[in-house]
Each structure stands twice: as C-alpha cells, then as structure tokens.
C-alpha cells in the first residue's frame, strides 16, 4: 500500500466516524473500500508492467 493511499484511507475513516447518519457513514466507508480496490489494482498493474518489461528473452 502506498503512503498516499494509507493517508487517504485514514482521512476517510476519520470523516466516516464523524457522520451521524447511517447512510452517510455507509458512503464514506464504501469509498474507503473503493480506495483499497484501487490500491490492489494499482499494485497488480504495476507488477504486470514490471514483469512484461523485464524479459531476458528479449535482451
């Protein structure tokens, strides 16, 4: 997880905690899940870019 994403998730958590309405809290917490998903996809895509770039057979 990148520092940026960690910071983002923390901010969202804080904001969610401050919401009194159930559906508002639900939105911010779901956004946090969304950010986690972005993070995973970012890792996977970066890994695939690295893997495809590092090809000894193409040296």
């Amino acid at each position: 997880m990148t520092e940026q994403s960690q910071w983002l998730q923390l901010q969202i958590d804080k904001l969610a905690e401050q919401q009194t309405k159930f559906t508002d809290r639900a939105f911010w917490l779901a956004l946090k899940e969304m950010v986690r998903e972005q993070d995973r996809r970012n890792d996977q895509l970066s890994g695939e870019v690295d893997g495809r770039t590092w090809r000894p057979d193409k040296w």
Binding site: Q11, Q18, T23, R25, A26, F27, M34, Q38, N42, R52
Partner: protein, 231 residues
C-alpha cells in the same frame, strides 16, 4: 438516468429488510419508488407510463416458494399486456435494463445444485428473465440479499452503497464504472458535510481522482507493452 423501483411485499411495514432498503434509497437522484400491493387499484395507463419513462426497472421482492409474491404476478398480468410489451411491434421497453433485488431466508450457498434449495436463483427467476427477453430488455445480474436478519453492522453499511449502486450505477459493474459512480457522488456528499469537514472532503476527492488517473495511466502503458509484444 431514471430508475423505477417496484416493490412487491404483502406486509411491507413488517419487513425490516424492505424498510432498510427504502431508507437506503439514494438521495438527489431520479428514482421512482412504488409499492405494488399499496395500490388499491392498478392504474394500467399510469404503470405503463412509468415503465416507459424509466431507463432501469427494478423488481424488488422476497422470494416465496422460489418465485415472486403473488402481488407481482398480478401486476405483471394486469400491466404487461401483450399489446404493450410486443403486440404492436413497437417494443416500448426495448433496451431498458431490468434488475431484480431479491431477499431470501436461506444463505447464498443454498441456491445451487446440491445445496439445501437445489435450485439457482437464476433458475428460479427464469420466468422474469423470459419476460425481459420477450420485451427486448437487458437483464442485469441479480442483486440478492440473503438472510438480512443475520447481517452485522459492517455488512449492512456495505449493503446500503451496493444497493444504491445497483439502482444507479452504469452496468456492467467494472472497476471503472465503480470509480465513476463514486467520483460523481462525491461533490454532493462533500456539500452536505458540516463546513469544518468540507476541506478534508475536498482533499479526499482530489486524491481519489489522482488514484483513478494513476490506474488509467498504468492500464494505458500496459496495453502499449502488450501491443508491442504481439508484434
């Protein structure tokens, strides 16, 4: 986009899951909500007009003996007349999306061959899918809520937004569609925050957009590499 939610339940006031879903309806969106059994008399012209106006039609009900409650069948038999759906070859419902929100008392694993129910939900809902097919509508993957009474708070919180997305988000439900849905919803959510929380809200919005851009850039790079590898 206009979404029409047609709820069928013989005792709506007593249903905690239906009350929960009603309270979860997204705000500031074009949603028409109707409880079928509350209509003393089904106004066919009005019902058909509502269907014409909607882009996405949601049929929402508890599963009773592997089917929708009798109220929904009565609605179908009354409102979906042959001439309206396909008889005059105008197909007024063509290309509209039809989604099913179904609640069940049994867990998801029961709805498979060898499971306690021995029947998939897709199989149980086949008659409704056939109606969609006949009307040239687009059938959406079913949104099933199993054993609502056993859901813990984190699951209920997630359900609120999953349900809102099912009603209003572009289909198919891809990462890109999900990101776009949240990005569109964020400004309105930030506006309704107390003033002292709005700056944080805007920072979150900017950072979220940045993450979205980063993924898009990576996906572009990857497709370039793939193209080159194919050569």
């Amino acid at each position: 986009m206009t979404t029409l939610v047609l709820v069928s339940h013989p005792h709506l006031a007593d249903s905690t899951s239906q009350q929960f879903l009603k309270a979860s309806l997204p705000e500031n969106t074009d949603i028409v909500w109707e409880h079928i059994e509350s209509q003393a008399h089904l106004d066919v012209a009005k019902e058909q007009e509502q269907l014409r106006q909607a882009d996405r039609i949601i049929l929402q009900f508890p599963l009773y003996w592997y089917a929708a409650p009798a109220g929904l069948k009565a609605w179908e038999d009354t409102v979906l007349t042959r001439s309206f759906v396909y008889g005059d070859h105008r197909y007024p419902l063509a290309d509209k999306e039809l989604g099913i929100v179904v609640t069940t008392g049994m867990p998801a694993k029961a709805f498979q061959r060898g499971g306690a129910e021995g029947l998939t939900l897709d199989a149980a809902l086949a008659p409704l899918a056939a109606v969609a097919h006949r009307a040239k509508m687009t059938w959406l993957p079913t949104f099933a809520i199993h054993q609502f009474a056993y859901l813990e708070e984190p699951e209920k919180l997630q359900l609120v937004v999953d349900y809102q997305r099912y009603l209003t988000q572009t289909q198919p439900d891809s990462l890109q569609a999900r990101q776009t849905w949240f990005a569109q919803k964020l400004p309105g959510m930030i506006d309704q925050l107390p003033p002292e929380q709005q700056a944080t809200g805007r920072l979150i919005e900017a950072e979220f957009a940045q993450q979205q851009d980063d993924i898009e850039a990576l996906a572009d790079t990857l497709s370039l590499i793939k193209e080159r590898d194919d050569d």
